[in-house]
Amino acid sequence: MIDPVKKFSALNDPDLKAAISMRGVWKLFDEVVALKDINLDIQAGEKVVIIGPSGSGKSTALRTINRLEEATIGQIYINGQDIYTKTNDINKMRQNVGMVFQNFNLFPHMSVLTNLTIAPMTLRKINKSEAEDRAMFLLKKVGLIDKAKAYPSMLSGGQQQRVAIARALAMQPSIMLFDEPTSALDPEMIGEVLDVMVKLAEEGMTMVVVTHEMGFARQVADRVIFMDQGAVVEEGLPMQLFDYPQHPRLQQFLKQIL
């Protein structure tokens, strides 16, 4: 099933200066090939948007970056560190990579404030007042300072997702992963979440975003990657991909969604 010639690409040296470097990453679910030889370098400060039809492996690709999904074979380096070496503690490495999920996944049994402070206090051993100061600063940034004492079930979807972004930022990560952050939202709430993401991008955060929001991709992305059937089919500047798509499958995909 694995093409021996393609497998060679795993032997190319990863870019150790890049924020994220993937070499020859394959993912197999039983018989299904979810990822086919992904090679990707994302530099610090770069904003990459991954698009593609559902089942194309874009979420899987994102989730292998922090090992929520284990790659079957291949190498992944984060800030020059191999995430598959036993000497590197994956829990330590994940602290440096924030993730935002489609379904928010806020901790429902904790207040918004505690959602933001629990990880820094437990994992970074920051004292309570410092963690809360930082949490309030982040809540102000996402425009939810008045919701600090609320529980997640009292918030709208858009508000929950903004809290989820703030929660990920509370660990002061250098990379942020977004897995379809607006797909579970009502249309009128998509804007408020995208605004926060744009602001974050302007501050220079390294971002990898899986999304169907083509407007956001055009506005923010330094590079757009189109995936289909587990492989990277085409990548380039947003303008290039959206206005002059080369590959027939990308042309077809764009026709369907626009």
Partner: protein, 269 residues
């Protein structure tokens, strides 16, 4: 979109339990009245009997408290051992470590396949005679290991009822497996776990009546002692049954109040 529907399905998962009086659900109003009627019925009947026919009923009531104390004692000790066993068993059944997993699974399979009375006999007569255990110790061991296995299943189901997204979110922040279980998953699972655990506790209290066969003077045995000397079987067992009923009804009320407190973060909009 598919993920979302999966998650709401997870959140609405309810554990089904079959033994003992069901803990009250706030949403089911007619069950509150069912509770109320049963409680009023048992209290009034007992009070009526004691007032209008103090002999034998009031005499029986005076004879029973010693036994009640023993019943409570066995229940309390067994519950406080069974709950930790249940938690460990539930975590063990979910463990990815094949050795821990099989130990927990085999334990549950064996215990669930043998009647409690048989276990009690085995521990008291077979092991007890070898190890010189008192009836009380044997009873506590039998009850806590038996209910530990039942509760293990409750813990397992409760932990599984917490959406996998919670685990992913915690792990993505950098929490390790243990931190994720104890800080994020278990506190949420408690809400699903507490009602059936309370139910198991009530069932355990009722099953303490079995220990009367190994020479422990619990309520039931005290009743039998009284009835054996006076031949007032009908009167005695009526009182004992009503006493059990009142206790279990009170306990199920307590459980529903605890349950209410646990859902503080739920849709308080």
């Amino acid at each position: 979109m598919i993920d979302e529907s999966k998650q709401t399905a997870n959140e609405e998962k309810v554990l089904i339990f079959t033994e003992g009086p069901a803990p009250l659900n706030i949403k089911e109003k007619n069950r509150i009245s069912a509770w109320f009627f049963s409680f009023a019925f048992s209290i009034l009947t007992l009070a009526g009997l004691c007032i209008y026919r103090p002999d034998p009923y009031w005499t029986i009531m005076l004879f029973v408290p010693d036994g009640l104390l023993v019943t409570f004692q066995i229940t309390l000790i067994s519950v406080s051992i069974a709950v930790p066993i249940g938690l460990l068993t539930g975590l063990g059944r979910l463990s990815k470590n094949p050795i821990i997993n099989s130990i927990a699974s085999v334990y549950v399979e064996i215990i669930r396949g043998i009647p409690l009375l048989m276990q009690l006999f085995y521990i008291y007569f077979a092991l007890g005679s070898l190890l010189q255990m008192s009836p009380m110790v044997s009873a506590v061991i039998a009850l806590s290991f038996c209910y530990g296995a039942y509760m293990g299943e409750v813990f397992r189901a409760g932990i599984l009822s917490v959406s996998h997204g919670q685990t992913e979110a915690a792990r993505s922040l950098g929490f390790n497996q243990q931190q994720t279980t104890f800080i994020i998953v278990l506190p949420q699972a408690m809400r699903t776990i507490i009602p059936p655990i309370g139910n198991e506790c009530i069932a355990l209290l009722k099953d303490t009546s079995l220990v009367s066969v190994i020479a422990i003077s619990d309520v039931l045995r005290r009743g039998r002692e009284y009835a054996a000397s006076t031949y007032e079987y009908f009167e005695t067992f009526t009182v004992i049954a009503l006493v059990y009923l009142i206790i279990t009804l009170l306990l199920s009320k307590c459980m529903s109040m605890i349950e209410k407190r646990l859902s503080y973060y739920d849709r308080s909009r």
